[in-house]
């Protein structure tokens, strides 16, 4: 299985377009949004400056891009062209393919998180304690597994031309509703109430509570756990269905 993971990594790192989108693009977006904000503007009700707040949002967005965009389309394509079938003729265990894909995504998502942090720290003078940097990196990296599972599920759900638009809708929906592009505090009240239950919102909130040196909200943890169970369960179910039909 390690050999497949290794090859998936090599391939992920070789794909310039994908690397650009998941590693560089979130930092560029961070600079566009937070670049003109001065270091003292606070985001309503958070006590965090806009750059500090947006740094977590964009790191989460970058990780989301890496784990969701790459995998769903790849899996759908490789299911269709028969590579998945060919792998079933090897000693690779059934879940090996999905694990390799997830590992491949995780390796791209880590630099995308770190690059956003580096840009925020150097360009916008975001200052945090050492433990906060570490905890943030860990939380955002591990939290991205929720969306990696979603990416796998989408790859097994949709096929052909359908997978890209579906992934796009889910990706933009999650990014906007979750407040990754602009704080949800700018939303109308009814939308704010809804956004609380969106997994990306809980995901970013996790990081923001670390920045505030607070314990994470129980609700965010529960939302993430429920969605993780939902996405992995869905992915496992779709995977088995696909295997039976060969």
């Amino acid at each position: 299985m390690n050999s497949l993971i290794r090859l998936e990594l090599v391939r992920a790192l070789r794909n310039r377009k994908f690397l650009f989108f998941s590693v560089i693009y979130p930092s560029v977006l961070f600079l566009l949004i937070a670049g003109s904000a001065d270091d003292t503007t606070k985001v309503d009700g958070t006590g965090l400056t806009l750059p500090t707040y947006m740094m977590v949002s964009m790191a989460s967005f970058g990780a989301l891009t890496a784990v969701l965009m790459g995998n769903s389309e790849r899996i759908a394509k490789e299911r269709e062209n028969g590579w998945v079938r060919q792998l079933r003729l090897t000693t690779l265990p059934g879940r090996g393919y999905v694990l390799a894909k997830t590992a491949g995504a995780a390796v791209v998502s880590l630099p995308s998180i770190v690059v956003v942090f580096a840009v925020a720290a150097t360009v916008k003078n975001v200052r945090l304690d050492a433990w906060q940097w570490l905890a943030l990196t860990g939380a955002i990296w591990v939290g991205s597994l929720v969306f990696a599972a979603l990416g796998v599920a989408l790859g097994y759900l949709a096929s052909g031309d359908a997978v890209r638009p579906i992934t796009m809708i889910v990706y933009f929906g999650l990014s906007i509703l979750g407040g990754l592009w602009m704080p949800t505090t700018t939303f109308p009240q009814w939308l704010q109430d809804m956004a609380k239950w969106v997994p990306t919102h809980a995901y970013a909130a996790l990081g923001q509570s670390i920045e505030q040196s607070q314990a994470p909200h129980a609700r965010d943890i529960v939302v993430l756990a429920v969605f993780f169970a939902l996405f992995t369960g869905g992915a496992a179910w779709l995977y088995r269905k696909d295997t039976l039909k060969a």
Binding site: N2, S3, L4, L7, V10, R11, R14, N15, E78, E80, N81, G82, W83, R85, Q86, R88, L89, T90, T91, L92, L244, A246
Partner: protein, 310 residues
Amino acid sequence: MTKTTGAPARQEVAVAFDRVSKTYGNVHAVDRLSLTLHPGETVALLGPNGAGKSTTLDLLLGLRQPDSGTVQVFGTGPREAIVAGRVGAMLQSGGLMDEVTVAELVTLACALHPRPHPVSDVLARAGVTPIADRKVNKLSGGQEQRVRFALATAGDSDLIVLDEPTTGMDVTARQAFWATMRDQADQGRTVLFATHYLEEADAIADRVLVLHRGRLLADGTAAEIKAKAGARRVSFDLEGAIDEPALRALPFLTALTVSGQTVRMQSTDADATVHALYGLGLYPRNLEVAGLGLEQAFVALTAAEEAKQS
């Protein structure tokens, strides 16, 4: 290169299908198919498009589950045989991982095999050493087939399964590929390949299974298949009333049609049949005896089956 398995493999059965059926909706893709393959055999699974060849191989490889019947590979289920590294396969619709090189992909296949061959050997035997550094998504159809063959032969497997391996190749590439396949058989491996080219079966296989509508029509050497189909075509005209039952009783006859005064038949021994025809006291006019090519033999076999069914 040493021989694949020692003496014990000789005794066991490589592949056993016992009344295996698989339907898609109301299509009987495989219909109560029973067959046994022995270690060391080179077997062609021959049949026209839609005969059920790919479905048969999918069942053999455990990619599909039979509706009824059992499939055994080296005495175990297909998946167990694959995990034990005893089977290497190349699918008709087997895609490749793109954006990696041929060498990287073959290295992966070797790493996933419990008894891998050295990567350079696998590349050389499949004839892909010159394109080892090319990206797999930049290959021609024939080159891609060779890469897929390399994946199927990455390790010391006892059975190699190939589904229409020469699809997308021109005549020279096809003949070169046959040598590659024979090389696997010469190492003592059991080779099972699906094809709809009779000359391919004739050129490589020492046993031919003819599949039609999911059923086994014939099982024998290419020569026997030809004989069974009626290797010679005999036609003549008769005057007066034609006694069909008497004609049907002629020796070595495999097919008979009477239209008007013209009789057409196929015989595995035309000389004996014609001799017996005179023996009946008949006087055939415009007698013609012609050889039947393998292609025609195959058409005859399948046509005979269709006639039986309707």
